[in-house]
Amino acid sequence: MNYHTPASFADASRIAAEATGTTRFLAGGTDVLVQLRADIVTPDDLIDIKHIPGVKAITRNADGSWTLGVAVAGAEMTEHAELMADWPGIVEGMDLIGSTQVQGRATLVGNLCNGSPAADSVPGMIAAGATVTVTGPDGSREVAVEDVPAGPGRTTLARGEVVSAVNIPARGENGGDAYLRFIPRTEMDIAVVGCAVNLTRDGDTITDARVSLGAVAPTVLLVKEAAKALIGTTLDDAALEALAEAASAACNPIDDKRGTIEFRTHVAGVLAKRAAGIAYARAGGEK
């Protein structure tokens, strides 16, 4: 295994593009090292991107949007009060992943590119309308987070492409987001269903919304019908019922030991209602 420490994303991309064998990028390592250990994936070329300037930075831009370096760990996000105040749903989704030790290393981008449909940080990013900057041999492009996963363990990124930043929109006035997941225990488990809701209010009326579901389909989903059920309402009972129905209708889950199809489909609706309630309260100024 060759271990590379490029000083720029262009170099990282070039090394990956020229490699002939198995390539992995290394940020927090909480998936890569487990796969290495279990002999699931032994890369021929391992490209550690942590020597690239800016990968540890959390930056609020002049327009209020955020740029997160790709090696920012979960613990660094939870410790960032302003990020937490703007995007509590994204931060709480990330914070649910693994133990304190894992939080010291695990990253949003690793969680996204690992391609698990149950990735806890991904619904929050999708609901927020976040994008990632992808650097490839021919330059950079910006990709919506929902367009990155292609199926369990797979992404739409081409050979030689590497995610070089996470871009989160400006929070704006009267907005709020939330992420909830169902697990059969209280901590250290994989989502059976996850749901993120992000919305904006004008007074009591929801003017904009995005809803994302995890662990109920081969990829994390952006559920436009569920968002439609919220927009224009004051989150009254009828809106909540319509939201739950749309969320459940979007589900195409697997049946496994952690949850049946029927259970996951039902819980998706329940979590959507609860997450919408929290996001709505946060958009109204509640902490």
Binding site: L33, T42, K50, T100, Q101, V102
Partner: protein, 163 residues
């Protein structure tokens, strides 16, 4: 053809001391600490980030050393359980763990001590719930956890009261 594994020269700081070693890039920091530096306090319970027995601090951040490559330690600061006591003087957490019998076989203990030291630095007055969540990634098959939690809370109280 057998590929001769390339070895990388790693220079790092462990418990304040400059050290260096040669590592195959596939070797974990845990393996390097134990097999190359003779620091066997960090234990391998699982090797996959599930048990916390290998906990160390990397640049002041609590991590599983089984999920860090040895080569990633280049130029960083590692702190292990061996750096916790001052000579023969035990750290208050270590003394309190003995007093409370918060260990039996002891395999999980170095990781739990390193993890709780990091907690108390961040939060000198944790609630029981906060301690339990913080230590959710440190598994113990012997104690049933209760004595560990009591020992941590008692140490935190003593440290706050300057005992």
């Amino acid at each position: 053809m057998t590929r001769i594994p390339t070895r990388t020269h790693v220079t790092t700081t462990v418990n304040g001391d400059p050290v260096d070693f040669l590592a195959d890039p596939r070797e974990t920091l845990l393996d390097c600490l134990r097999d190359k530096l003779g620091l066997t306090g960090a234990k391998e319970g699982c090797g996959t980030g599930d048990c916390g027995a290998c906990s160390v601090q990397l640049d002041g951040r609590l991590v599983c050393s089984c999920l860090v490559l040895g080569v990633e330690a280049e130029g960083r600061e590692v702190k292990t359980i061996e750096g916790m006591a001052e000579g023969n003087d035990l750290h208050p957490l270590q003394a309190k763990f003995i007093e409370h019998a918060a260990l039996q076989c002891g395999i999980c203990t170095p990781g739990i001590l390193v993890a709780t030291e990091a907690l108390l630095k961040k939060n000198p007055d944790p609630s029981e719930e906060e301690v339990r969540y913080w230590l959710a990634g440190n598994l113990c098959r012997c104690t049933g956890y209760d004595k560990i939690i009591r020992a941590v809370l008692a140490t935190a109280r003593d440290l706050r009261e300057g005992v």
